[in-house]
Amino acid sequence: MTSVIESPLFLASSIFTIGLLGFMVRRNLIFLFLAVEIMMLASAYAFVTLSNQFSDVDGQLMFLMILAVAAAELCVGLAIMMRFEERNKSLNADAADHLKG
């Protein structure tokens, strides 16, 4: 049991799951973004710790790249979110259900 908790993958899994849950549950666009960022954080953390564990330096590179991608994505995403709020006057993701049915 303790070995499971000690494993870095446990933390990564937990954080990923919480992010996933948050994404499925929350309606507010900001929290949806937050959840996505949390999931990416979890995977980046897993990369770093596992690269240390397996002595493979590519994991560290991957960590950097995930960070960069998260940043880029967040930029554009937040811009889109601002347009969304301008159009629908609220940040509720349920307002974007035109593809219903």
């Binding site: 993958l9 992010g19 937050l34 949390i38 954080l41 330096v57 590179l61 940043a71 811009a79 347009r83």
Partner: protein, 163 residues
């Protein structure tokens, strides 16, 4: 050892609080706290490079961007939230699914040989830098292109429609 457990506990708690916050700003701040705890965890594991990078880039740039945008949107508190009761109603299905995913991940990690392998030393910054400039220069160029594209995209999308 106990410091490790504390950092694990804190980061999980912070993330949980972040996603169950009622106001966006609170959520972001909780996430920031979670990042600090995670950086603490990483440095305990010996990846000082990872910890610092997390702090500078993630907490320092990305989260700040979030904060700025939330402030820009200037939503009154009532706009930012759905009631907890509604949350609870919709929570059950996703909770089940999430638990299944979590269970599988734990199952996978516990039965795999991952835990058995222990590396000799965590990588030093010097080793990482060498690897970056020797093998990973191409990816750096790609990252810079990506960031440029994101910059242009965000600039264009974020422009207020003048029509």
């Amino acid at each position: 050892m106990s410091a490790y457990y504390i950092s694990v506990f804190l980061s999980i708690l912070a993330i949980l609080l972040a996603l169950s916050a009622r106001q966006a700003m609170h959520g972001i701040l909780y996430l920031l706290f979670g990042l600090i705890a995670l950086a603490f965890n990483l440095s305990l594991l010996g990846s000082g490079y990872g910890a610092v990078l997390l702090m500078i880039i993630y907490a320092g740039a990305i989260m700040v961007l979030f904060v700025f945008v939330v402030m820009l949107l200037n939503q009154p508190p009532s706009h930012l939230e759905v009631t907890v009761g509604a949350l609870a109603r919709q929570f059950l299905g996703p909770l089940m699914l999430g638990l299944c995913v979590f269970a599988f991940m734990i199952f996978a990690t516990s039965t795999s040989a991952v835990n058995a392998i222990q590396g000799a030393e965590p990588f030093s910054v010097k080793a990482i830098a060498e690897a970056l400039f020797r093998d990973g220069w191409f990816f750096i160029e790609l990252i810079s292109l990506l960031l440029t594209a994101a910059l242009i995209g965000a600039f264009h999308v974020g422009k207020r429609q003048e029509s």
